[in-house]
């Protein structure tokens, strides 16, 4: 994996996590069972 791809993997992980956090914050998802 080149440094560039590693960076983009990080960026994708941050993007997905923050999107999920936003969806939860907006109340679009109330509960996630485990």
């Amino acid at each position: 994996m080149t440094p560039r791809r590693t960076l983009s993997l990080d960026a994708w992980a941050v993007a997905l996590s923050l999107t999920l956090a936003l969806i939860v914050r907006l109340g679009l998802i109330k509960t996630v069972p485990w």
Partner: protein, 364 residues
């Protein structure tokens, strides 16, 4: 480190040879979910069976089942090509899981635990650098090679330095040995988690080794390992400066040293910023100031995010099993494995001593 990323590179390339489009990733991701969920269902089924029959079984975390099912699939029927690209995404799920784990830490905890982890990481790195430098001199290796071994083994782990394509590193063994040792020593979740995070090289395996002990230990293992990853840049920079002073650095290193901040930023794992951001919002939510609290997450939201993080880790653990190829171990021969295992055992004992010492002083 270069060697570490090369190892990861080779591992990933065995799973996926070319970058894949989203539809091509789906079968593998579905397999990760299936294997992970089977592990979770197995844990639940065993616990339910034990309860209804009034039996006392030791609780085996779903992590172990997910990894075992993965190993079983990849080493019996093998991983069909259609799944490979998706299975290789386990590292992505690991990072997403770590970022979302920020919801389970308030910043005060991160600073306190991170501070303890960082100081232990610092002591562990210093001790292993001294040990490896002594070893290098005892075997009359060149200064450059000694430095590579010292830095590499203390940060990336011995296995990353020694491992070549197909070599299975000793991390797989630590997955099974660490929880047994932890239980035998009656370690607290915090002490055990710190130990797993400090001693296991690979972030996925460190997370799994922690989660095998308990949910809370998994959380601490991730924090300790993340601190260690975040330190890489500083240690590499310190060594690069030392090399440059001795006139050993090449032109490329000298050029990089012109911009030290840029050098540190390049080595810094960026997803940690996402973790800190989520943790900041978790902290704000717990604030007594209503305006600040309104900006952050409430308790139900934190629970939802914590569970999302657990689901992401579930995919990671399935991936850890699916990418472990036992056949490679036998093809490779025992020697690299033994050298790697001995190196890791020394580091594991060293960090265990540190943690037990710190536990006495700070009551982890």
């Amino acid at each position: 480190m270069a060697t570490s990323s090369t190892t990861r590179d080779l591992r990933s390339s065995r799973l996926a040879d070319e970058p894949a489009s989203l539809p091509a990733l789906l079968p593998g991701i579905a397999l990760l979910a299936l294997v992970g969920y089977a592990g979770k269902a197995t844990e639940h089924a065993i616990n339910t069976y034990a309860k209804t029959h009034h039996l006392t079984f030791p609780n085996i975390e779903y992590v172990l089942w997910a990894i075992l099912f993965g190993v079983l699939i990849s080493n019996t029927i093998g991983l069909p090509r259609i799944f490979r690209a998706g299975v290789a995404t386990y590292e992505f799920w690991l990072k997403a899981g770590i970022i979302l784990l920020g919801a389970r830490f308030v910043l005060g905890d991160v600073l306190k635990l991170g501070g303890i982890s960082l100081s232990l990481v610092f002591v562990a790195i210093t001790l292993s650098i001294l040990f490896m430098t002594w070893l290098g001199r005892a075997f009359r290796l060149s200064p450059a090679l000694t430095t590579l071994l010292a830095v590499g083994s203390s940060i990336c782990g011995v296995s990353a330095i020694i491992a070549t394509q197909g070599a299975i590193d000793a991390d797989a063994i630590s997955l099974f040995a660490f929880p047994v040792i932890g239980h035998a020593l009656h370690m607290s979740d915090h002490a055990y988690g710190l130990w797993a995070g400090l001693a296991v090289d690979n972030t996925a395996e460190a997370t799994a080794a922690g989660a095998l002990y308990s949910d809370a230990a998994g959380k601490y293992a991730v924090l300790a390992k993340t601190c260690r990853n975040a330190l890489i840049g500083f240690v590499v920079l310190a060594y690069a400066i030392q090399w440059s002073r001795r006139g050993l650095a090449n032109a490329a290193t000298e050029a990089q040293l012109q911009n030290k901040a840029g050098f540190l930023w390049k080595k810094f794992p960026k997803f940690v910023l996402g973790f800190l951001f989520i943790s900041l919002l978790a902290t704000l939510g717990a604030s007594s100031n209503p305006t600040l609290a309104a900006l952050g997450f409430n308790k139900a939201q934190l629970l939802a995010l914590g569970n999302l993080s657990r689901w992401a880790f579930l995919l990671t653990f399935a991936g850890v099993g699916l990418r472990t190829n036992l056949r490679d171990l036998f093809q490779q021969g025992a020697r690299p494995f033994i050298v790697s295992a001995v190196g890791e055992i020394v580091i594991a004992i060293l960090t265990l001593g540190l943690i037990l010492g710190a536990d006495r002083i700070y009551h982890l």
